[in-house]
């Protein structure tokens, strides 16, 4: 299917090039309007690393498949559950990426997981976070 569709190339912060179909680009609500027309020069996404961008694109493709009824409801929920089952760093990166690209569904999906993640933290780990922030915000 990819061959017939128009393709835009995105470059991640670490230099990976991702050819992306326009249907997927359309899911990137916050940037799709000012992306150059397909076939033009590679568009840099300097805020997002390759592994994360790959995941976001993967997510969009799967959900387009779902919208086109190529995937059943329970398949996509299972896929989603699997998708968010990653470490905390990846989750946060995904959150930032989906926010930056404006992928709304992904953003809400990740948000719930991140919220769960913060809930799990007891007082001790909150203190850790706290220290971390103090060291980072000493200058503000």
């Amino acid at each position: 299917m990819e061959n017939r569709e128009k393709v835009t190339s995105l470059r991640s912060s670490d230099g990976h090039i991702f050819p992306v179909e326009d249907t997927v680009i359309a899911e990137f609500r916050s940037i799709h309007s000012f992306l150059p027309a397909a076939g033009d020069a590679v568009f840099p996404i300097s805020q997002i690393t390759g592994d994360i961008l790959a995941k976001v694109i993967d997510y969009c493709r799967k959900h387009i498949d779902h919208k086109l009824n190529r995937l059943r409801d329970e398949e996509i929920t299972a896929w989603d559950r699997h998708f968010v089952n990653v470490d905390e760093k990846t989750l946060l990166d995904l959150l930032v990426a989906s926010h930056f690209l404006g992928v709304k569904d992904l953003f809400s999906l990740i948000m719930v997981s991140v919220a769960d993640m913060t809930k799990k933290k007891g007082v001790g780990s909150m203190d850790q976070l706290h220290n971390l922030f103090i060291s980072n915000f000493r200058l503000d």
């Binding site: 592994d51 990653v86 470490d87 919220a115 706290h130 971390l132």
Partner: protein, 915 residues
Amino acid sequence: MSRRVRRKVVRRGKEKVGIPEIEETTALDVKDVLDWIKLPDDTVIQLFSCLNYRDRASLSSTCRTWWNLGKSPCLWQELDLRPHKFDSAAASSLSPMCVNLQKLRFRGPESADAIIALQAKNLREINGDYCRSMTDATLCVLAARHEALECIQIGPDFCEKISSDAVKAIAICCPRLRKLGISGIQEVDADAINALAKHCPNLTDIGFIDCRKVDETSLGNVASLRFLSVAGTTNIKWNLVAQHWGKLPHLIGLDVSRTDISPNIVSRLFSSSINLKVVCALNCQALEADSTFISNNNHRGKVLLAISTDILKGIGNLFVETQRNDKNIFLHRENSKKDKKLDEILNWLEWVISYSLLRISESNLPGLDKFWLDQGTSLLLSFMQSTREEVQERAATALATFVVLDDENTNIDTGRAEAVMRDEGICLLLNLARSWREGLQSEAAKAIANLAVNAKVAKAVAEEGGISVIVKLARSANKLVAEEAAGGLWNLSVGEEYKGAIAEAGGIKALVDLISKWSRCTGGEGVLERAAGALANLAADDKCSIEVASVGGIHALVTLARNSKADGVQEQAARALANLAAHGDSNGNNSAVGQESGALDALLQLTRSPNDGVRQEAAGALWNLSFDDRNREAIASANGVEALVALASSCSNSPHGLQERAAGALWGLSVSEANSIAIGREGGVPPLIALARSDAEDVHETAAGALWNLAFNPGNALRIVEEGGVPALVYLCSSSVSKMARFMSALALAYMFDGRTDEIALSGTQNIPKNVNLDGSRRMAMKNIEAFVMTFSDPQAFSAAAASLAPAALAQITESARIQEAGHLRCSGSEIGRFVTMLRNPSLTLKSCAAFALLQFTIPGSKNAMHHVSLLQNSGASRVLRAAAAAAGAPLEAKIFARIVLRNLEQHQTESSSL
């Protein structure tokens, strides 16, 4: 970061191709891994909005930026104070955040009083429940200080202290009012309603629910009204209603559920009102009686909703142009979303119907079974999927309520529970329980808890992964959520099936933590009772009981038993301790409970409680604890004898469970002779004799057991005779249903009349009252002992055995004579010695009885057989036994029993030598 999560990540990283291996991280360089700071501000705010207040607070305490973000007005538009203790101090500390607060939910009149201190001038909506004692003054001040109020809802309790004056004050103070709902007012008079009509031009929705009296005529003046509910309100003059409400120009929906409206009035309203679309009349007797009227659903496009109409179809008909008929309109609202008017009607219907269903389920009226099964359940389940939290909550509460038939005996309706299951209700409830909204969590947990009384539902809950969901809720810091979740675990832990699953999901630790946490605060009785109840159930399982102990449960439960003032909590804490101590053979919990400081004192204190249940469980715990020698003596030295004798004397009219345990605890204590002497001295004999006369077999066993132990001491034996214990024991020995009770009372009688009592009597150390006829009693006792032993002898089998002495024949006799429970009895050396001496007693009856007793105590494979055998061997009893087996004058059964005991001894010997 929890260790478990990290490990999982590493494993998954290896599985997946194309994703770089995730490094093992340590807490120290969290910075490199979790760069929270890079989250944009609006993302952080969204993150906050997914969390409850407590998590928000801890998150915003991490840094200054997040602290400021946490104060963003958009996060402080709604406040749900229901689970919190809310006073003016709390209110003033919250007030800087509440400038833009729009919506507030609270519980109880104390909270209502404190709301003013929030200084939330822009409040649009308040919603209060449990406000039975809320006064006019409070409500007037609320209205006066919050002029922007658009929506006021107070209920569902009967707010009897609120009067028309408050309604009038609301009308004058809150000109923007759109919705007013108050329940249980005595009277809403014309003055108040006219004020509403005059001052509140936007008032579209009124609910005067469950009121005593409402002025019908003036309601006709509130021209802006679109929706009106007078559900449950009494004394309505329907003629005035038909006359005036029909003229309300914008009235679309009218709710007259649970009133005495008649078909005639409904038709008149339908014909006179222009815009009226739907009349909701659930459970109106006068309407239901007229089935032709109900079934005639042709009211010119207007719809009547009643118990016996198809409610969903009726509502569907309202929107016939836009809606496909076969779908549940509440679940498929895509179309109505576009049409604001439709949406409004559906929202209102959802609200009034869920309200009425809740009230109907609460009153548990008969005759509604068919309604609940046919449509009530599916209505509630569709309301649970509403977009509005209040409706979802109310539907879950109604689900929790309508399955319960009988609160006292936790009896639930199987048909209804299964109807909930059939429509995937369990899945829906678990989804609500998984949501982050605590109001939903608690109501869903309550519904699951109630439904889980049904075994099939419990199974479904377990299969849908519900146990871990409930355990997760039990860790909630929210009191209401934790309480209902603990209740769920209590109900789920009744059977054996789910104890393991609960333990595996971390439930035991969660429950113990709940107890430790809430026993430090006031107002946690509900949580504590349920958590202790759940632990009590879990502790009945050997494995779980070990875990309870290992996570500090013993300390928590003892503290609870010691400090709690509530009966229910005390009862469950004592029950939990009793169950923990019930595994004396397999783990060390029994002695651990006894050694926990203050445990025995607390339990003894509880035996003085005025509540039967508390006394019963405390006595049960002491009974179980007394199986451990050290605990037994500790109980005695903590004045346990006095306490337990007092308990036994005071429970003659109490439930059998209490009587059983009171006698049981004395039985346990009396194992040592010093204690039994003390029990006799403290006056324990008469109450035990009284209990022996009980008509419950469980009481027979423990009373007989205690008297048997007491009778070992000749002084006590005399007392028993003196207090009329012989007839009581004879009664037990001859006619109790329980074999154990008959056995032990026979042994008690044997102790009393084997001669030692006479020695005491003769030596004159104790005065025998004149009226005691020792000889007469002895004759009666002997006769009954003999009769008792004879019931276990089959002459035919005996003569066969006597002829052959073949092992098979002896084994057959053993089997038929065996009293299963007697295997649990454990005798001391002196007791065994006494039976051996009895073998040489001139009385033939006592000879047989002693042989019979020794037979019971030495049956191979029973719990204490080895112990008894070694006692017998050490005392050189074989010689006596051989003599008894060979004695010419002895009765046949005595000889055979003695022979069997000898054989048991040999068998044990070969067994132990082969080991």
